[in-house]
Amino acid sequence: MSTPLLQIDQVRKQFGGVAALNGVSLTIAPGHVHGLIGPNGAGKTTFFNVMTGLYTADSGRFMLDGQTYAPTAVHKVAQAGIARTFQNIRLFNSMTVLENVMVGRHVRTRNGVWAALSRHRRAREEERETEAVARHLLDYVGIGQWADSRADALSYGHQRRLEIARALATEPRLLALDEPAAGMNATEKQQLRGLLEKIRDDGRTVLLIEHDVKLVMGVCDRISVLDYGTLIAEGSPQDVRRHPAVIKAYLGGAAHV
């Protein structure tokens, strides 16, 4: 097997007396869609926040693309190459759809104050390229015709797509989606699935935290299952579906299947 894209070892995170993460390890192969599931309160979101630098881990090792990274500040993690979306959509509401994606280009562009004032040739080129990439990404996720609307004027499903486009604009090595299907109706979920498959087929690596089991089983190459802050199972969707510990965690009681 080639070097994993993301390798996280033995992450611990304690909130007071509660061990939210009790030595969780996760390895994601390049080009995979990796699912992270678990019942409510299992520690999925805590893990996600630790991985992206929002919380500081008590201990653990973090490797992205063969290099260690320290998730100490959110913006540094994004610069290192992990882009995320939020469970409750967080867009820049008063900006246009296009501008939202252009903000995503910020980490991969360089124009500073002097470039803004003088608009010299290179600055103009970079600005043009930023806009072109942003428009391309909007078309890619299928909301190109709303480029000039305000972000908060979009429908819920389209706002989710915009969030994904904005994350893709940072040229992430890993795209991390926190419950993207939350609050979506059946049609929107179907469309989201289509988009995720397209993103996977283009060779991107995705970490998907999701409640919707049908979506996870359908899209993911591998799945990790968390419960009470520990990893209880990992494997292909078929394996995980039949794993006794998983069934126990989800249905409760002893596993009689």
Binding site: H75, F92, M95, T96, R150
Partner: protein
């Protein structure tokens, strides 16, 4: 349909608009001076000083969303820097300086403006650095305190070494002199008698235009977008890799620099600075200009400035005669009614136009 006419028509219109705008700026003091005398042109000069301040504050509050209630501190920094570098005060207090500068300290305006911008930007960083984690109300309280600290420093820095001359203030600040033209005197230029307030008007208008240019360019740039992103959702912005701390510091420094320039101009124009010019009330007036006009929207900020700078003067001039003609005598002191109407106007604006009189319109709904 003729394609070329449809393409050139809007451009011709824009060109005509720009021409009329330029004409209005050039003629404004003459029209106003003709109608109401030099006092009104002086009001206009102050409106432009306020405009520079408000445009600076607009970067901090409007773009980056950092509520700064002590912005007048940077105005004070610029003004006191000018007063110290271009008045007899320092040389009269310190014999060493008097020996070095036998003609007195008279630093040129060409040096004072960049120095004021730099020093104020430094103070902006000084305020910004410890407050990076604060938002909204908490930031407002700390910045309010900062503004007061600067004022109180100026008030008390006359002992043991007399640096600011305390509450008495510093007088005889050099007027601006450009290319040998002293702006404090009426000049005969191109066969026209141009009073001092007109000359200052043109200087301030030019500076304000430069600041407007800088603001517009910044607004439509990578930096401007990043500021708005930080304002809209700081957490999402940092998840996109934006270094929100650096961006906030940059906003504080840039805004403060404009405040410093405005303060330097104020000191030269007035010829006198004292701590009383930099009270909390002034900070609130500048903030009101930005909020009333439309936060983050330059035309709105300009409108807010002109309204709030002119309104008190208009009311002062009209309320007395109005009562005289209605009741045959002045029943209530015009000053009291003026404050009342001023406050009422702000309350009504916040009730019915919470986004400002001329808010930014980004994108279609």
């Amino acid at each position: 349909m003729n394609l070329s006419t449809t393409l050139t028509l809007p451009r011709a219109k824009a060109r005509l608009g720009a021409l009329l705008f330029a004409l209005a700026i050039v003629l404004a003091p003459w029209l106003l001076g003709h109608a109401g005398g030099n006092a009104w042109v002086r009001t206009l000069d102050f409106a432009l000083l306020y405009l520079m301040l408000a445009l600076g504050l607009n970067i901090v509050v409007g773009y980056a969303g950092l509520l700064d209630m002590g912005f007048i501190a940077f105005y004070a920094v610029g003004a006191y820097l000018t007063a110290l570098l271009a008045s007899p005060h320092l040389t009269s207090q310190f014999a060493v300086l008097a020996a070095w500068f036998p003609q007195g300290l008279h630093v040129s305006v060409w040096l004072i403006v960049p120095l004021a911008a730099l020093l104020a930007a430094g103070f902006g960083l000084l305020l910004g650095a410890p407050t990076l984690r604060l938002r909204g109300d908490y930031l407002a309280i700390v910045t309010l305190g900062f503004g007061e600290i600067i004022r109180i420093f100026m008030r008390n820095l006359d002992r043991p070494l007399n640096i600011t001359n305390g509450p008495k203030g510093i007088a005889s600040v050099d007027p601006v002199s450009l290319f040998g033209v002293n702006l404090a005197r009426t000049q005969d230029l191109f066969g026209l008698r141009v009073p001092s307030v007109y000359l200052y008007y043109y200087l301030f208008a030019a500076l304000a235009l430069v600041i407007v240019f800088v603001c517009v360019r910044l607004e439509h740039s990578r930096i401007g977008r990043a500021w708005v992103a930080v304002r809209e959702d700081e957490q999402a912005a940092s998840a996109m890799g934006l270094d929100t701390k650096r961006l906030k510091l940059l906003a504080f420094a840039m805004g403060a620099a404009f405040g410093g320039v405005s303060g330097a101009m104020f000191a030269s124009f007035q010829g006198f600075v004292s701590p009383e010019s930099f009270s909390l009330n002034e900070s609130i007036v500048v903030l009101a200009m930005v909020v009333l006009g439309g936060m983050g929207h330059i035309p709105g900020v300009i409108l807010g400035c002109l309204l709030l700078a002119a309104l008190p003067e208009l009311l002062r001039a009209s309320l007395g005669p109005l009562q005289q003609s209605l009741f045959g005598q002045v029943l209530v002191d015009p000053e009291i009614i003026r404050q009342l109407i001023y406050g009422l106007a702000l309350i009504l604006a916040m009730l019915y136009r919470p986004a400002g009189l001329w808010p930014a319109s980004r994108g279609s709904q």
